[in-house]
């Protein structure tokens, strides 16, 4: 029993980690980023190259890849998203436009990765060491994902709810039309939120690459999972993303252990449906 709780939390940590970035981008910058998973995969490849070709440990790679991703996403927003934002009549229009645009970005990233690395499977071993936790042995790299997601989540929650800058972010998230009336530069705020989301996608990618086999075209799997977590948790909510991620991890693990591993996906989607019926705005979403 305890074993399954721990395994579930560790699995859920990965889900939470990859979903937090998407919730930042969707909730605050209002960009529904369908290329999110491909940014994760790009970070996976970057880590793989740094580790296998240059011998840089994935932990150290975080220090290179995460700032780089922040800068790249800042650029993407500036060049591609900003025109959409400035011409969008309302939120709905921006959402549709951003879905179409990022759908294109998805194929651009995928195409570049395919040309550079081919379509083959990639995997390596790092920190695949047993760590004993409350009598259960878990993989060090998966535990790292859980710890990182909780730590990043805590930092973000602190920033969002305890700092002035966080208040600005929340203001833009809540009411992008009224925020400028208070002297808030919504464009800059959205750009920063989008870039932070991108940096978190990269963090997720670096950690995930340690234990998961990835291919150039596997990004959509991550986007799907992250999307479920974001909607389940309530869009734009960091605590929601963590809670929903951990919940999914627990559901999958318990179903695999007590019902059947074949039904894990069905269980995830059942929880998803059920929650949407009861709370259409997600666990932590505002009504």
């Amino acid at each position: 029993m305890l074993e399954h709780v721990i395994n579930g939390l560790v699995l859920g940590g990965t889900y939470a980690l990859v979903a937090m970035g998407l919730t930042m981008q969707y909730g605050i910058a209002r960009i529904m980023n369908l290329s999110f998973g491909d940014m994760i995969i790009a970070a996976c490849f970057a880590t793989h190259v740094l580790f296998t070709a240059l011998g840089i440990s994935p932990i150290a790679a975080l220090l290179i890849i995460v700032p780089a991703s922040y800068a790249i996403n800042l650029g993407i927003y500036q060049v591609m998203m900003k025109p959409l934002v400035s011409r969008a009549a309302d939120e709905g229009a921006l959402e549709v436009d951003s879905i179409l645009l990022t759908f294109g970005v998805l194929f651009v990233i995928q195409g570049i990765l395919l040309i550079m690395f081919g379509g083959g499977y990639n995997s390596y071993s790092f920190l695949n060491t047993p760590v004993k936790m409350l009598g259960t042995v878990v993989a060090g790299n998966r535990l790292l994902a859980l710890v990182l997601s909780l730590a990043i989540g805590a930092v973000l929650v602190f920033i969002l709810y305890r700092t002035r800058w966080g208040m600005i972010l929340r203001a833009v998230s809540l009411s992008p039309q009224s925020a400028p009336l208070f002297g808030i530069d919504t464009d800059r705020t959205a750009r920063t939120a989008f870039a932070i989301g991108g940096a978190m996608a990269a963090t997720g990618g670096v950690v995930v690459s340690m234990f998961q086999t990835f291919t150039a075209t596997a990004g959509v799997v991550f986007t799907m999972k992250a999307l479920i977590v974001v909607i389940l948790g309530g869009k734009g909510s960091i605590p929601g993303a963590i809670a929903a991620g951990l919940l999914l991890g627990l559901v999958e693990t318990f179903v695999a252990a007590y019902v059947d591993p074949g039904l894990t996906l069905a269980a995830v989607y059942s929880v998803f449906l059920l929650l949407l019926l009861v709370r259409p705005n997600g666990l932590f979403g505002k009504v």
Binding site: S125, V138, A139, R142, A218, G262
Partner: protein
């Protein structure tokens, strides 16, 4: 006198026949060689993107590229008159979609009008294009396709050829090893088995259940999981709780790698560990990050076979990485057979199909490779990592296989 006359007439007649025949041959030869063509076009549709890209990129595409490059470096494919024509390759990405692969093959046949079509990757995709290949009369060298129904398919599409055997073949060879181990008292009667709920896993597990049961084994844990599964902590711990000495996983590479990593974490080390696709990849020990000696899977090579060693070296040199230890060599052999069939009978598709069906070929598999009922049967069914190499094994060894070494040593 009369005799002499009829004799002379008969000689004359014979002579005429010879002359006509040789003229006809000469004419047909010129028609396929220098006259109106300067190349032989060979097309294929393969998964370069999408979920199948990983498998295709390991086993099939590199061998197509390697073979075409080698042939063209030698001046091209040899024709019956001794002339050579270079291959022009037309490749399409089927994006891992069954509709797309059918469309691409149809395009190759009707618009590009290629001389030969090489098959796509995967059992399902080969079945999807089989009717088309037969309809347009192309020999279908189904390489990366595992199916027990090959004998039926051969009847339905007599220009189809199957190079990778069927699930029952792989499973029964593995069962023989298990029976020998159990009879020697080295393993217990229980098997823990997991499989991915997708083509390969479903096929293999369907064959495995009756095979294990008929051999008197008890399948203590038998679960399937969806292909998206990435975490195997629970499955490994449940399999470990089942007290089985044999762990079998019919999985695709991402699962195989994840199961290996998780088994190491959980110190799950049953005496017999048999994993699915991916365990026979040359990158497998690197991914596991430790010795993988003792791990078993499908395929395997005979390290003493010089032809195979030479093939592996050439593949590594030209493609930049080593081929896998299962399907690659079979695919490459099928291409060599195609090349030799063309050399013997020319570019007529029906004649090439007939030659493939009845001829004997010198391939990387051996100097006398031939098909039985349009199927390649000289396949290594079970392999095991031994001293850093994935070798073909059998219970006692012999005829190109090594003796299986069990129990599997510790992961480290």
């Amino acid at each position: 006198m009369k005799n002499a006359f009829s004799c002379a007439a008969s000689v004359a007649r014979h002579f005429t026949t010879y002359a006509v025949t040789s003229l006809a041959i000469a004419a047909s030869v010129t028609s396929v060689s220098a006259q109106d063509r300067d190349k032989i076009s060979i097309g294929y549709a393969i998964s370069k993107s999408g979920p199948n890209a990983g498998g295709a990129d390991m086993t099939v595409t590199p061998n197509y590229e390697l073979w075409i490059k080698e042939v063209n470096q030698a001046g091209g494919l040899k024709l019956p008159d001794g002339s050579r024509l270079p291959i022009e390759a037309i490749a399409y990405d089927d994006r891992s979609s069954a509709e797309e692969v059918v469309r691409a093959v149809e395009r190759l046949a009707t618009q590009d009008k290629v001389d030969f079509i090489l098959p796509p990757w995967g059992t399902g995709f080969n079945l999807a294009v089989a009717p088309l290949m037969a309809k347009f009369g192309y020999p279908h060298l189904a390489g990366a396709a595992v199916t027990d129904k090959a004998p039926d398919f051969v009847k339905r599409w007599d220009t189809s050829f199957w190079f990778m055997g069927g699930s029952a073949d792989y499973v029964s060879a593995f069962t023989k090893i298990l029976v020998a181990e159990r009879d020697a008292g080295r393993i217990n009667n229980k098997i823990a088995m997991v499989s991915v709920a997708d083509g390969f896993g479903i096929d293999l597990v369907k064959a495995a259940r009756p095979s294990f049961k008929a051999a008197g084994f008890e399948i203590a844990y038998d679960k399937t999981f969806p292909p998206q599964t990435s975490d195997f902590a629970t499955i490994v711990s449940e399999a470990s709780n089942s007290q089985a000495d044999t762990f079998v996983a019919f999985t695709y590479p991402p699962h195989t790698f994840a199961l290996t990593k998780q088994s190491k974490i959980a110190s799950f080390n049953p005496p017999v560990q048999y994993l699915g696709v991916g365990a026979g990849f040359p990158v497998y020990p690197g991914i596991a990050g430790s010795s993988v000696d003792g791990v078993m899977s499908l395929g395997g090579i005979d390290p003493n076979n010089e032809l195979n060693t030479a093939y592996r070296e050439k593949h590594t040199e030209i493609v930049g990485r080593a081929p896998d230890y299962w399907g690659s060599v079979l695919i490459y052999a099928s291409l060599q057979m195609l090349g030799q069939a063309i050399e013997r009978v020319g570019l007529d598709k029906a004649a090439v199909a007939k030659e493939l069906s009845t001829g004997t070929f010198a391939t990387v598999l051996g100097d006398e490779t031939r098909l039985e009922d349009n199927q390649l049967r000289a396949i290594n069914w079970v392999g095991q990592w031994q001293n850093g190499q994935f070798v073909a094994v059998s219970p006692a060894g012999g005829s190109g296989t090594a003796a299986v070494k069990l129990p599997k040593p510790d992961w480290e």
